[in-house]
Amino acid sequence: MSRKLSGFKAWVVQRVSAIYMGIYLVYVLQHFILVPPVTYQDLTMWLASPVVIISMALFFLLLLLHAWIGVRDVVIDYVHHLGLRLAVLALIAVLLVGCGFSVLRSLILVAT
């Protein structure tokens, strides 16, 4: 797994995703502070806009990638036994992919 996502590429993805998430969080915060949705309808209306929903989906995708790279780094540092490393990485991958599906389901539910 670490071969596929090389050290350099992983580092770039981690940096770029951090920048996007930083900017996106500021955007979401200012939206909720300046134009707070009062009802559930307000919220779904806001989320129905393709720009909002796509930028949010991108945020969660990058969040999962960022988390994967970070946890993978910790595992590479500390878990040296091959079998154990594979097991831990697989467990984390399943968890993150599960989170991804759950986010996707929620986004689809809210947007439709």
């Binding site: 670490s2 071969r3 996502l5 090389s6 050290g7 350099f8 992983a10 580092w11 770039v12 780094d73 590479i76 540092d77 500390y78 040296h80």
Partner: protein, 231 residues
Amino acid sequence: MKFSIYRYDPESDESPRMVDYELESIPRGMMLLGALLELKKQDETLSFRRSCGEGVCGSDGMNVNGKNRLACLTPVEGLAEPIMLRPLPGLPVIRDLIIDMSQFYRQYRAVKPWLVNNDPEPEYERLQSPQDRDKLDGLYECILCACCSTSCPSFWWNPDKFLGPAALLQANRYIQDSRDQATDERLDALEDPYKLFRCHTIMNCVDVCPKDLNPTAAIGHIKQMMLKRSV
């Protein structure tokens, strides 16, 4: 002045132990190396490396009160007592304060610390502009004392795969050199997840370097070079 020094002879001792020593009088301005030489008069089995005594050879790196330093550049005055002396952490102990530096040197060798230039040899020398020469400042001064690499947790966990701050500083020294023609190959060699990217920028190396060098900045420069050539 009280000292507590790590003693271990793998051939005869089952496990390492800390042994107390005391020096009656410390002359003003005495360096730790001077104190160790005095202690060696009391107990000649006490072993440590030393050579030039003035921070040029890099032989007497050791862990002083929890921080890696050169004994010859560390004034005894001002150190908290008892002064705890241990070998540099993370590498095998040969005896007392002497560590086996083979792994450290292997990583140094791995960055090909020499100029790669395939042009025909010039009659006198390979010239460099003063500006290009300036880029090597802060890189060429490293004396390979291993204080930085042995203070780096990433090097402790993966000493065989992560090159460590000392070797990476030298990698950058040749990457920055205008006369070197192997920049691409050098960058290629560092792209995997281990050799360079085990560095998590905690800057222990900068904290301990007795020559006030900045391996973390050097590692940052290498990453920048990788980024530049990929976009």
